[in-house]
């Protein structure tokens, strides 16, 4: 590994995921590749030299010099409204990465995997799901995806398509669609007991989301007997958008 450098990144396309989130595809000449679960720093510079930066998880597997980020538009944010509303194909930012060797999944690992996503915490977990599929891995995956309601699902069509060895459960916190028996609410012990793996299977657990969600889910996993060293977490802090 070499030290990190900022690279020019050109927007080549963008697609909406929900009413408030977009997936942005950048071309980054010289991109060294990355692992599922890693993130990047994105830096914006204004005409007058003013600069600011934010961290975003990579949404897709390594793909040559292309990277994909899914960005939620934070109301009154400084960076996310630019990325999701103003930026057009051909516009540039700078990207530095990939970073993070701890919250990663490698396709040579065939242990069972439990992914627990809170809201936009799905992004790095989706990179793991896509990497697994692309590599033809046989590691069994279960995804518990906590979100407000059916309108908030990222990657909805892709997650609906059959993917052998991947089970997906949705945990709606505000409004559940017709026909869903679980009442809307925050993640509970029963969700992880039913939708996860028994602790005896010693799955690798990846939990990503807002801080409160990650705390709650990690505590529940510990209560179910999962070993602390098998639980990896990534909190989305107060980044200021």
């Amino acid at each position: 590994m070499r030290r990190l450098v900022w690279r020019a990144a050109e927007l080549v396309g963008s697609t909406p995921e929900t009413a408030t989130a977009r997936t942005l595809r950048f071309r980054v000449p010289g991109w060294p590749g990355h692992l599922a679960g890693q993130h990047v720093d994105v830096r914006l510079t204004a005409e007058d030299g003013y600069r600011t930066q934010r961290s975003y998880s990579l949404a897709g597997p390594a793909d040559g010099e292309h990277v994909e980020l899914t960005v939620e538009d934070v109301p009154d944010g400084e960076v996310s409204p630019y990325l999701t509303e103003i930026m057009e194909a051909g516009d540039q930012v700078e990207i530095r990465g990939p970073v993070g060797g701890w919250f990663v999944w490698r396709p040579d690992n065939d242990r069972p995997v439990l992914l627990v996503a809170g809201g936009s915490g799905i992004v790095p977990l989706m990179a793991m799901i896509r990497t697994r599929r692309q590599a033809g891995s046989r590691a069994p995956f279960r995804l518990l995806y906590s979100l407000r309601g059916p309108d908030s699902v990222y990657y909805a069509d892709e997650l609906r398509r059959p993917d052998p060895g991947l089970d997906v459960s949705y945990l709606y916190t505000r409004s559940a669609p017709e026909g869903v028996s679980r009442p809307a609410g925050r993640i509970m012990l029963a969700d992880l007991a039913e939708g996860g793996w028994p602790a005896a299977h010693a799955p690798d657990c990846y939990v990503c989301g807002p801080t409160g969600f990650v705390e709650a889910a990690a505590d529940l996993l510990l209560a179910l007997g999962h070993a602390p060293e098998r639980i990896r977490t990534e909190r989305f802090g107060p980044t200021g958008g």
């Binding site: 510079t45 400084e78 930012v93 700078e94």
Partner: protein, 203 residues
């Protein structure tokens, strides 16, 4: 900023950075009150709270919460400037002037090290705490000071960058020699005057 400006993000303007004469260089205005923290928020119940001034001669002056509230209260309205580039104008506070707390303190020390519940420290020349320049405040905007903003009580030294206004303040140690605090030993400027943009060591 430094470095070479290479890639401009077309159409990116960033936060408001208008240069009114109340805004020190490099600052932008905020309406909300950002919370920055270097550790878990201490929860100090008033019955366990105390504030102390420890002199260089080894004398300690202490105030319990009721004793502190019984002192003459002032209501400063001041502009505050954070080293992370936000400024907030006309913030209103209620608390006790350091001049009041120092009335009976005999000292020849030149330096103060402010220490907090939770372990935070910050240093400044003693003269920057006196002559109406600093307060120990316990109310903000008419309300009790919330724990995330330093409640029950914090130091308020508005003429320096806001990291000097230690949250959860517990006491002030008076010293003959300067003793750099938490951020001052990690690259931030020892004095921190926003009007001279003293952000980092060497500025």
């Amino acid at each position: 900023m430094g470095g070479i400006v290479s890639i401009i993000s077309r159409g990116f303007h960033g936060r408001r950075r208008d240069a009114g004469d109340r805004l020190p260089p490099g600052q932008y205005l905020v309406e909300d009150f950002p919370v920055l923290s270097a550790g878990p928020t201490p929860r100090v119940p008033p019955e366990r709270w105390e504030f102390a001034i420890d002199t260089e001669a080894g004398v300690t002056h202490r105030w319990t919460w009721p004793e502190f509230l019984a002192l003459p209260q002032e209501r400063p309205t001041v502009d505050i400037h954070c080293v992370t580039e936000w400024s907030k104008l006309d913030t209103s506070w209620e608390g006790v002037s350091l001049d009041t707390l120092f009335e009976d303190v005999d000292t020849a020390a030149d330096y103060a090290l402010v220490y907090s519940y939770g372990g935070y420290t910050t240093n400044l020349p003693l003269e920057d705490l006196l002559d109406g320049k600093a307060w120990i405040v316990h109310r903000f905007d008419g309300e009790e000071l919330q724990p995330q903003h330093g409640g029950p009580a914090r130091l308020l030294v508005p003429h320096l960058y806001f990291w000097k206004s230690a949250k959860w303040v517990r006491g002030i140690r008076l010293l003959d020699e300067d003793h750099p605090g938490f951020w001052e030993t990690a690259g931030y400027h020892n004095y921190g005057d926003p009007w001279r943009e003293q952000r980092y060591e060497g500025d």
